[in-house]
């Protein structure tokens, strides 16, 4: 299962980087969304996918899934929601101000260092 997950994570990162490198603002946002999904799964996979029962105490169960990566991911999910919302607004405000979403046209110049 880990091998499969590693490949899935690789594909997620690949797609994310590809989108982030593109010139369209919206694609960059989509890319960051995929990147956070990839990162969440990466943390989970690195911790190990073993465990037959969720990390909630129950009588007679000893083989819990690893709770630490789960706690870290939970935090990360909520943060990535906040970040996505933020850059979404940032993007469409930029679009409204500059009338373009072409990253090549939004380059810095000497006057706006």
């Amino acid at each position: 299962m880990e091998l499969l997950m590693a490949i899935v994570i690789g594909i997620l990162f690949m797609a994310a980087v590809y989108l982030i490198l593109s010139r369209s603002l919206l694609k960059i946002i989509l890319g960051t969304g995929l990147l956070s999904h990839g990162a969440h799964l990466l943390i989970l996979t690195m911790g190990g996918l073993g465990g037959t029962s969720p990390p909630v105490l129950a009588d007679g169960v000893t083989d819990y899934a690893d709770p630490l990566p789960q706690a870290l991911i939970l935090t990360a999910i909520v943060i990535s929601f906040g970040v996505t919302a933020f850059i979404l607004v940032l993007a469409y405000r930029t679009y409204a101000e500059h009338k373009t979403d072409d990253m090549n046209l939004m380059r810095g110049d000497d006057e706006h260092d």
């Binding site: 880990e2 980087v17 010139r23 995929l34 969440h40 909630v56 991911i73 607004v89 373009t100």
Partner: protein
């Protein structure tokens, strides 16, 4: 704690300057500053009795003991002489500046802070026994000099001059640091005294000559020797008190100090003697030659300073010969060097102050516009006359004495037999004599073109009158010294010069009184130096009177063949080169920067993985593949592909949602109910968010990305993806330390009283994370609010304007 702390006294005093400047507006800040050099001068003067006996005092303050770096104040004859110059001239210059700088118009706080920093730095240079702290202070003098030259920072010339001096002296300083490090390697110590003690073992060491040249580069750049002197004329943009203090009396002499201090180490080398003497003499000649060409009073003085520094340098070179020859005259050279150093400080300081007074009172320093000021400014004229005549080397002024000794030393070099001096030695007295002729000419030129001749008062920018008394005090004191030293040269020699000579040639004496020099103004008719002087005066007077005729010869030198042009073009070249280089990779496109980052992440991580043999996959630890897992993975990958290929915004958003939902399915499969729940809800809310913003989002366009672009992106993306896969696998297969998870599992019920371990970690074990995380969330919320509301507010404001 000993007197080493006194080095820092001026810097500490500088801390109070802003307060004094701000709250005691009525009193010129300089009056407070004046206390510092006076107090230090009086304190340090007390050391004379020690050094007169050939003794020294040491005070140490540890800085980085593990590296052998400390602040050591080592006071012997040489450092004491410089210390007294720094504090003595410093006091006079501060006094002068009080009248020179207007307290209502100038930024006095800046000026005095820089000046005090300089004072500390300079004291540090001449007292440090540790070469590393010496270097530190050395660069601090460059920096404070930079700040002082650029004091009138609204003027282009000031900034240019400041930068130029900084570039050249800091370059030299860095070279010198290299030399110090090499010395440290050879002698296994950073202490100058220990280095001198071990110096006999350096001879023949592979680093010896290199260290010698590097140290000399530091000294030559600082002391404005050929060809590095070009910064000094441009440094004249500084306020005149600064020119008098830094650029004639003290800072530029730091290089001389360095040469004198390191003579015991390097004197054995032929290279040292040739370089120090040769460059010194060349500088003497060059400086005096070009001083005559100048028309700005301060520029004349700047070139004359360059030339005089060369003179002292060549004497120091000659004094190194004493290590090879028994001829007493070379011991004499060291005396002459130190003696002239004192004399130069007195007469050049006074001349600079007079130049400042003329500038201040008439509004111009252009010698072509000046003339006939003698009757209007009699006191200034007297001082200028005394200073100039001393500079020209005429009796009864101190410059005469040291110039005679200079001639004697140069004549003696003729007879020195080692190192090819027998062949070339005759050049030394000849060049020295020619240079002295020019020195004579520019001295006359300076004083008589300004104060005598036709009265041009009407054309001056200001109506001139004699300077206020306070301004004249300092130059008059210096002029008095100029005359005074002529009559008591041997007393000065006993108190100051001989102890310093002992520091330059320590192996040769055990007590300063053994320096067997008696200065006399009159030798006898047969002495060659007397005839040299007489011939010099004769030729000098003739040339001065015919100056207008032959000065045109200077125009022969084409403009493009000067060192300044070389410097300018070097600066231009490096500036353009750097600009082009940075423009080459700084495209201003975020995409380019991201590509660098991703490419580096991928290459560095993979390289480390394989170089460190960190890529280990432990197949046995893998869990069994489940059917649900495979199915979810297929759905997820399909959704990812859809995101990339989507032609419309809506399709892309929905596909992204699908990716999120399949991720939450994975969470279910991997027994993470909290995550699954959170992910599900978040995905729903996110999609709603996207749809709310849908109208305002730009359409999905490729913006004409070429295939090549996309291929590049795809390659980097693939590299990153593969890297992450490899990292995921090897990170899973090897754990450096056991996970803390077991602790959580064991204690969750007893310590935290909970059952859901994930939630307990969030709110209890790792509560800090959560606290900051909700803070981030709140910030993001406020950020969104701000971005939209602020824009609304602006829109409304615009509407009102209509």
């Amino acid at each position: 704690m000993g007197f080493v702390l006194l080095i820092f006294l001026p810097i500490v005093a500088a801390l109070f300057i802003p307060l004094l400047f701000k709250y005691l507006k009525g009193i010129h800040t300089g009056w407070f500053v004046l206390f510092v050099p006076i107090a230090l001068f009086i304190y340090y003067a007390g050391f004379i009795t020690t050094t007169m006996d050939g003794g020294h005092k040491v005070s140490e303050l540890q800085w980085i003991p593990s590296l052998g770096i400390s602040f050591v104040s080592y006071i012997d004859g040489l450092s004491l002489l410089f210390t007294l110059l720094i504090t003595g001239i410093g006091a006079l210059v501060v006094l002068y500046s009080i009248f020179y700088l207007d307290k209502d118009r100038e930024k006095l706080n800046n000026f005095y802070i820089y000046l005090l920093i300089f004072m500390s730095a300079m004291l540090g240079v001449v007292q440090s026994d540790n070469v590393i702290s010496l270097y530190l202070f050395w660069e601090l003098t460059s920096i404070s000099s930079f700040l002082l030259i650029g004091y009138w920072n609204t003027r282009d010339r000031s900034r240019f001059g400041a930068l130029k001096s900084m570039m050249i002296t800091v370059f030299g300083g860095l070279m010198m640091l290299g030399g110090f490090v090499l010395l440290g390697i050879m002698g296994d110590s950073f202490s100058i005294r220990e280095l001198i003690a071990n110096s006999s073992s350096f001879i023949g060491h592979e680093f010896f000559t290199l260290a010698l040249i590097l140290v000399l580069l530091g000294a030559f750049t600082k002391s404005a020797q050929f060809p590095f002197y070009i910064w000094l004329p441009d440094a004249m943009e500084a306020p005149t008190p600064v020119s008098a203090y830094l650029h004639s009396a003290t800072m530029v002499k730091a290089g001389l100090y360095l040469v004198a201090r390191f003579t015991p180490i390097f004197a054995v080398s032929e290279v040292w003697i040739w370089l120090v003497t040769g460059i010194g003499l060349l500088t003497l000649f060059w400086g005096s030659l070009f001083a005559v060409k100048q028309t700005d009073l301060k520029a004349i003085l700047a070139f004359s300073t360059v030339s005089q520094l060369g003179l002292i340098m060549s004497l120091l070179g000659a004094s190194a010969v004493a290590y090879h020859s028994d001829d007493a005259i070379f011991k004499f050279a060291a005396f002459a060097a130190i003696f002239h150093l004192i004399n130069h400080a007195t007469f050049k300081g006074s001349l600079f102050m007079i130049a400042g007074i003329i500038d201040h009172e008439t509004g111009t320093r252009d010698i072509r516009k000046l003339g006939g000021l003698m009757s209007i400014m009699p006191v200034s004229f007297t001082v200028a006359f005394i200073g100039s005549m001393s500079m020209a080397g005429l009796p009864p002024f101190n410059g005469f004495l040291s110039k005679e000794m200079f001639f004697q030393s140069m004549l003696a070099l003729r007879n020195f037999e080692l190192f090819n001096f027998a062949t070339w030695g005759i050049l030394f007295p000849v060049i020295a004599w020619v240079a002295s002729v020019f020195t004579f000419i520019y001295s006359f030129y300076f004083v008589f073109k300004t104060f005598t001749g036709r009265n041009k008062v009407d054309k001056l920018p200001k109506k001139p009158h004699e300077a206020p008394v306070g301004m004249l005090v300092a130059p008059v004191i210096l002029a008095t010294l100029v005359v005074g030293i002529f009559f008591i040269p041997n007393l000065v020699g006993k108190w100051l010069v001989k102890p310093a000579v002992m520091a330059i040639q320590p192996g040769l004496y055990s007590h300063p009184s053994e320096v067997d020099v008696h200065v006399a103004a009159w030798h006898d008719f047969a002495s060659p130096e007397l005839w040299m002087t007489i011939a010099l005066v004769g030729l000098g007077v003739v040339l001065y009177l015919t100056m207008t005729k032959w000065r045109k010869l200077y125009d022969i030198q084409p403009h493009y063949l000067s060192l300044n042009v070389l410097y300018d073009s070097m600066m231009m070249l490096s500036e353009n080169g750097m600009n082009r280089l940075s423009r080459f990779y700084m495209t201003g496109l975020i995409r380019t920067y991201l590509m660098y980052m991703f490419a580096f992440i991928a290459s560095i991580t993979t390289a480390t993985l394989f170089l460190k043999n960190a890529f280990i996959v432990d197949m046995d630890s893998f869990t069994a593949v489940s059917v649900y897992g495979i199915m979810t993975a297929i759905i997820l990958v399909a959704a990812v592909v859809m995101v990339i290929l989507a032609k419309t915004r809506l399709a892309a958003i929905i596909a992204l949602g699908a990716v999120g939902y399949s991720v939450s399915l994975f969470f279910v499969i991997f027994k993470a109910p909290d995550l699954a729940l959170t992910q599900l809800v978040i995905e729903t809310v996110s999609v709603a968010l996207f749809l709310l913003a849908f109208q305002r989002l730009p359409a999905l366009k490729t913006h004409g990305e070429t295939k090549r672009n996309r291929l590049g992106n795809a390659i980097i993306a693939a590299a990153v993806g593969i890297t992450v896969t490899l990292v995921a696998l090897s990170a899973h297969s090897q754990k450096m330390i056991p996970s803390i998870s077991q602790y959580y599992k064991d204690t969750v019920a007893t310590e935290a009283g909970g059952g859901n371990i994930v939630n307990v970690i969030l709110v209890d074990y790792r509560g800090f994370d959560t606290l900051f995380e909700i803070a981030v969330l709140a910030v993001a919320g406020i950020g969104v609010l701000a971005m939209i509301r602020l824009q609304l507010a602006r829109k409304e404001a615009k509407d009102e304007n209509k």
